[in-house]
Symmetry: C2
Subunit: 339 residues, 2 copies
């Protein structure tokens, strides 16, 4: 796949999906489309991911050079920004498939549907759950693979990144590991998955279970991408459904250094780390005994490595388990704890 990644006015800081794809996906990135960064390159901003030129619009690319356009940003609310329409139109006229994680479904947009038909393209809305989802049967625990779930103290502390990094490092350590993606970015990177936050609430656990059952015993280690936080005022339902639907064996607790309140819900303080450990373990236990065996601390907000190392060490001590920043430091101790 040769993909262009749309990220107008948001690259790199507010283009989580674009960055995730550049960092982890097997696709060849032909270009990032961002009219504010025209002429630069990805590596000018982010050194440790796949490089690609940044262009102002799809019409700066040759039709032959690209076969897929990914929408790599998601505005608050998940709407479609009309300033992107020309790029999507051009992509379809080039014969490209268009992949989107927006709440606004491209496959229900009249013009895009018509253009896709005319040009033999596919409109793929990864946030649209498929129709066969149903309630969990409580059987995810029956598969042989070791199931590892990333859980968090809040949204946007790095659960997706931690899942991807740990799978990559587990594979490098010789383990047969795979990701079970539950959110739009993970689904785009892996090319499959159920958007667990968009399914009918009764089917939340079932949507996760279905993926685990489908993978079955294909791998020895399955890393389930967690969502939200078990004490999030808005999103805890999704977190709880993933916890019970995946019936994990082990948990990795993800946290951001210095975060003290729920992002966007600042009147709600984060409980202590040991409280999170107890909550996740005690809530899981009646469905699946699972222990927090490792911690992942996002230290992106700390400038120097010494401070970051100190923060990671303190986090490990609080947890009573090995911890790291998966982007900044080694993951050997964590991989060992997950074996």
């Amino acid at each position: 796949m040769h993909v262009a990644i749309l990220a107008h006015e948001k690259f790199p800081g507010r283009a989580k999906t674009a960055l995730g794809v550049l960092r982890y996906a097997d696709y060849e990135a032909v270009a990032v489309v961002d009219r504010e960064n025209d002429g630069r390159r990805v590596n000018d901003y982010v050194p440790d991911v796949q490089d690609a030129p940044i262009v102002a619009g799809m019409d700066d690319l040759d039709a032959d050079a690209v076969d897929t356009l990914l929408i790599g940003i998601a505005p608050i609310g998940g709407g479609f920004d009309e300033s992107w329409r020309e790029d999507v139109r051009t992509a379809l006229e080039y014969g490209c498939d268009v992949v989107s994680g927006l709440h606004y479904f491209l496959s229900e947009d009249e013009e895009f549907v018509r253009l896709a038909e005319e040009n033999g393209c596919e409109l793929q809305d990864v946030r649209k759950p498929h129709d066969d989802l149903t309630v969990a049967e409580g059987v995810a625990g029956d598969i042989d693979a070791e199931v590892i779930l990333t859980v968090g103290t809040d949204c946007s502390v790095g659960k997706m990144t931690v899942s991807m990094e740990l799978v990559r490092d587990a594979r490098e350590a010789g383990l047969d590991a795979a990701v079970v993606p539950t959110g739009q970015t993970g689904i785009m990177i892996e090319g499959w998955g159920n958007p667990v936050d968009r399914v009918v609430s009764d089917f939340t656990a079932g949507a996760v279970e279905e993926m685990l059952v489908e993978l079955g015993d294909e791998h020895d280690y399955l890393f389930v991408e967690g969502q939200g936080s078990i004490v999030h005022p808005a999103y805890s339902a999704v977190t709880c459904g993933i916890l019970h639907g995946s019936m994990p064996d082990k948990l990795v607790l993800c946290h951001e250094a210095g975060r003290e309140a729920i992002h966007g819900y600042e009147s709600f303080s984060l409980p202590s780390i040991p409280t999170y450990v107890d909550l996740y373990e005690n809530l899981s236990a009646p469905v699946s005994e699972a222990e927090v065996v490792a911690g992942a601390l996002n230290t992106a907000g700390l400038e120097d490595d010494v401070a970051a190392r100190d923060a990671v060490d303190a986090y490990a001590e609080t947890l009573g388990a090995p911890a790291t920043d998966v982007i900044r430091f080694e993951t050997d101790d964590i991989i060992e704890a997950l074996r």
Copy 2:
């Protein structure tokens, strides 16, 4: 409203919605429609609810006598049984509205839509969430009313019944109380509400919060109908979303005497009652401090009142809080604990 309640082959034992409506709704029940119990009366089977004749089909009723048909049963899977089509057809030809809590939406059935249009009737699918739902803002705690949530050790232990009985008894005790319905039966009884188990999982808490904010300070006590159980392998997401979305002040723990495993998921044992108390209180605390202040024990499976009283007393002692069977015994102590 003059309603007929469809309950073919399921009345009374497997017609939870029909019984709930007969017991709690303000509607006048004109008849129960059950071809297997034709000629009997409701009170032949269930003494303490609104009485009505049982007829074999809608065409046994006069068109003038009835203005609404309620679907009072829900088969596993929530499908529409084609053997009911003739009754729904007749109802619409009589000019009746039809209210359904099935997963199969009558408002998407071609024939019913046509008949409803021809006869000026409404097809009301109470399990179809409205389009404006969104994520919770974490503001349910801001309303002045005391919010009481019924939580359970499992599905079908009586949370809806407990909510309805406690509101009725609270009103009789002079309190200004109302129900916040979250499931199909509660919604049919109250005539409003969000079907929390059918909303997009990200909006679970938001769907509850919206109802509480809408009621605001209209009442002093709001009894939120809980769903599922926080350790249910399939439905815990809904339970968790209601817990955090309602931001309750007090919890009533509902349980069925003698139940030892999750219904339909028998390999999962119920944890101990004190474990449930800790789980609900500890999970709620970071969002809303809430205490289990009372227990409701469903003793329908126990034949004599002495055994039932013993079971209730033992449950109260385990809880360290007053308990009762809301159908069988007085609720005075519980109402007192909720004040």
